[in-house]
Symmetry: C2
Subunit: 261 residues, 2 copies
């Protein structure tokens, strides 16, 4: 569990969670258990997706993948334990937040993982591998479920424990959806343009496995334009908030758009 | 998810959860989401334990195991989705229970799965496989973590959503711990004395894989005596409750002790 959770990574989900909480008047302390939970869930999905029976990857966050280091059995179990710890951690460690908001944040996290979230994305991703007929609709479904839903849960979970109104939650949900898709478009672009060393994971893999990606379906130029459009949309969702307080979330959208790994 | 969850099974955990809730004055309706969650978690642990990289089993609840039916990738993901759905289901569907009790039940469930629960038991189980020096202490550790903790979470979770006092929770925890160990002692006995058809899973497997079991370490006679002692202990924990209201939990202890599969 530590091998994969503490291997570094950009911590985008925790950052989004805390920033959303603070934007609506909450504190970092209130958001921290949920923020850590989002990273645990993300890490669990990486461990399981890297397994030989799935993407069969050897390198992750610049280190051997979990099953390379500890064997497949331990990797499956480390993922299971991280997933349950995520929920337990939010339930047990969230302080100074009303219990009904904690329950709502847990429900949000649960939805992001299961058959309407990460798992749905990975199932369709596996099923469409090597299928040359995969179009933008399937690609977008996979990205929304594999990436955007957990970014959404991070933002909405943070907003909920921070005391957001329903209206604030919905605006932040819109922001998260744009950012979630943006995240994956940029991932696809980086897979083509960067080395494994720069990425900390196997680069060029999408090309080798003949996977549908934005650069492949739209071309590199149009993919970059789409990324720019998504940054714009994400920021627009935050226009009704105090722009100084919204600076971290605005900055995170830029960070996701212009990151190099 | 449906293949494994709806394959039958004894539903011991849901029954314990509902019976505990009703014993402390709660209703079946209050306990049902938690009861279903316990079965989802149990099913998920069976799916992952049956994987080729773990126990490599072909038969479960009289049907092909999940990976035999759908492949390893889907089996891993079905387990993941069931695990997260369990938490989401408790959070989203529990009605007429205060949110702080829901949060406590979720924390209890989380602890039962992770590195202090099912996963701990399975890790030690795998690590001690084929080790002839495994004694009663390791055997008991494995059984407590692989079985007893989730039975405990079922009973305690049910008691919590049913409005139990702290004292009631602790007595029911004691009952659940005895029943949890009892459950596994009986499983070990049945593995030796019953056929695969009668069990709905591969019988005699413990002998073939040279696994430490109670009959092997204590002999069959002493194993049965130990089971009788555990039933007695379990019932003793319920002595301060109204015996008529405690009848379902008393009966479940007998059911677990004298079941034939």
């Amino acid at each position: 569990m530590r091998h994969s959770l503490l291997a570094g990574g950009k911590r985008v989900r925790p950052a989004l969670c805390i920033a959303a909480c603070e934007l609506v008047g909450g504190s970092e302390e209130q958001a921290m258990p949920a923020a850590c939970a989002m990273e645990m869930v993300h890490t669990m999905s990486l461990i399981h997706d890297d397994l030989p029976c799935m993407d069969n990857d050897d390198l992750r966050r610049g280190k051997p993948t979990n099953h390379k280091a500890f064997g497949e059995d331990t990797a499956v179990l480390a993922g299971d334990a991280l997933l349950s710890l995520a929920f337990e951690h939010v339930a047990r460690k969230t302080k100074n937040v009303s219990a009904d908001r904690i329950v709502r944040a847990i429900a949000e996290l649960g939805k992001a993982v299961g058959s309407e979230g990460l798992v749905a994305g990975q199932i369709v991703d596996i099923a469409s591998e090597g299928d040359a007929s995969v179009g933008l609709d399937i690609l977008e479904y996979v990205h929304i479920h594999k990436t955007a839903v957990l970014l959404e849960a991070s933002v909405v979970g943070g907003a909920l424990v921070g005391g957001a109104s329903d209206e604030e939650v919905e605006k932040l949900r819109g922001y998260a959806r744009s950012v979630g898709l943006l995240f994956q478009v940029v991932d696809d672009i980086l897979d083509v343009t960067k080395s494994s060393k720069e990425l900390g994971k196997t680069a060029g893999k999408d090309l080798v496995t003949d996977k549908a990606t934005y650069p492949k379906l739209l071309g590199m130029e149009k993919s970059k334009e789409f990324a720019d459009e998504l940054v714009r949309q994400a920021k627009e969702q935050l226009s009704s908030f105090d722009q100084q307080k919204a600076a971290p979330l605005l900055g995170l959208a830029d960070f996701i758009a212009y990151r190099q790994n």
